[in-house]
Symmetry: C2
Subunit: 352 residues, 2 copies
Amino acid sequence: MLQTRTMSLPPIHPVILCGGSGTRLWPRSRAAKPKPFLPLIGEKTLFEAAVARTSSEYGFASPLVVTGAAHVEHVEAQLGKTDATIVVEPAARNTAAAIALAALRLDPAAIMLVCPSDHHIADGEAFRAAVRNAAALAAEGYLVSFGIEAKSPETGFGYLERGESLAHGGFRVVRFIEKPVRAKAEEFVAAGTYAWNGGIFAFRVGTFLDELAAHRPAILDSARAADAAGSQQGRQFHPSAAAFDSFTPESVDYAVMENTRQAAMVPVDMGWSDIGSWDALHLALDRDAAGNTVQGEAELVGCRNVLVTSHGPRVSVIGLEDVVIVIDGDEVLVTTHEGSQLVGKLHGAANQ
Amino acid sequence: MLQTRTMSLPPIHPVILCGGSGTRLWPRSRAAKPKPFLPLIGEKTLFEAAVARTSSEYGFASPLVVTGAAHVEHVEAQLGKTDATIVVEPAARNTAAAIALAALRLDPAAIMLVCPSDHHIADGEAFRAAVRNAAALAAEGYLVSFGIEAKSPETGFGYLERGESLAHGGFRVVRFIEKPVRAKAEEFVAAGTYAWNGGIFAFRVGTFLDELAAHRPAILDSARAADAAGSQQGRQFHPSAAAFDSFTPESVDYAVMENTRQAAMVPVDMGWSDIGSWDALHLALDRDAAGNTVQGEAELVGCRNVLVTSHGPRVSVIGLEDVVIVIDGDEVLVTTHEGSQLVGKLHGAANQ
């Protein structure tokens, strides 16, 4: 449960962001049905897991899902009977605007917990423990990032440098660092005072809107106009497209977090993965003693650290190591773990 | 043309053996349509190439094809209008018996040129030059093997050790060696007096039958009885099944060549491959500068020595080296070159 013994928190609304173009886990993930909506790990899709992790069972208020028109159908189907609001973005305009559209639907005194829908979190309890701390800090006026324990010098993530310690196990953020070069990333991991920026945030709604007004008024103005002219259709809210283009799309990190003086972070170690490549997905999946994982029908002979995932044909593999094999309809992908970073640039993935 | 300047040879009948279970190049090669009947290299199938290489255009007499009932349909279709006899084996009983059935259909004075139908020969002129020499030796009463220049210490082939030199560029065979261990194979290649036994033979028909009578009378008796009770149907000759089982199936090497005192060999270097594995097939195919070969639609990124062959789905490959990828209907095979030796033992290949 989210309430602490010593204080009562405002309601915490999950704000689940569903964007993504479906290129990095191509050909399983496609533009028409990208990563959040696929059961990549276990039986739930990543989106379903994000909803379940922040359900009313754990004391969360009703969620808002922000998505584009292309994916509303998947969101509706996978939300099932969850009491939720679906904010249908008139256009994909990056996270600052998406979060603003959600904030305008909420009580300024509430807490919004911004969660990507395409990440994997193995330890839901550790996640919710961090939510308690982050929400407590947010209630005090901080804009709080989740600082995910940096276990390896990844160059594909942003990093947070932590400073002065705060209440609730939190820290001020000294600096946001965009994807670093390898040597920098190694320094960060060695220093122990840096964490990965996983794109999970807790804000008091009013604080977020105030900071957006201070640092990116054009985004807030556009979002307000789109919200004011929007229409409700069942549990879907459609902000108006007409008013939603007079700003430069920016990430919430760039637009707000790097500019505010109230940036904080809570450290968390929760078995997190952004599932940003086939390699990363394989690391998050169960493996046998040889490090192999099979989804579908396959025979592996003399293989190590091989992931085979097939919807259909049988796959026979001999003698491979550190390789991912994906069969999906009319596409076959075979890549080394290392090469899986390049999947999004393949013709098939880029020209969907 | 086959005639030499100094002598006239008896007619040379190609005897093309079509057996094989279709496991080593699975899943492209299947029990129902094994290796000889597939266009693995270029547009002709291996069988069509074997027929074309020994056609009347080059002075050969009409061919005999020895095959089983399961493959007669493929043989008929791929022979087209070739003037040929198809000997339909009542059962697959190894090469000594198959060759005997063919020999009994021919004039004892003729030369039979026994050719497997599942090998690749890049240099048809070199092949026919060797045929001239082999046929000349056969006309003199030798049982002649083609001794294929041993370019590497293969452990999957038998070897011939050559002795005293004969006319027509030939040699006596001192010894037949079954598949050797690696160290032995390396000795053979270093010595320079050993050649691969490619299963290509030239015999005077009468000589072969005499030697079979001397060393394996049971095989000859069975073949004679089956032949005598056989029936002609169009260009197909069907030896009788009833008489064709009272002998132990043996290869012609084991039954005759290793026992005769008239064994000879002609050396030949003709770009030969038994296409005995996907690895071997890749070596026989054209490659690009990176050593890659693509049949079908594929995108290769950062690959070396990769063969992709797909009937259907597009294949995207990143970062692999020395790997073969085969897509065929409901089966996908991904194997290292080295691992391709094990393909025949896969469940899919073994349980067709």
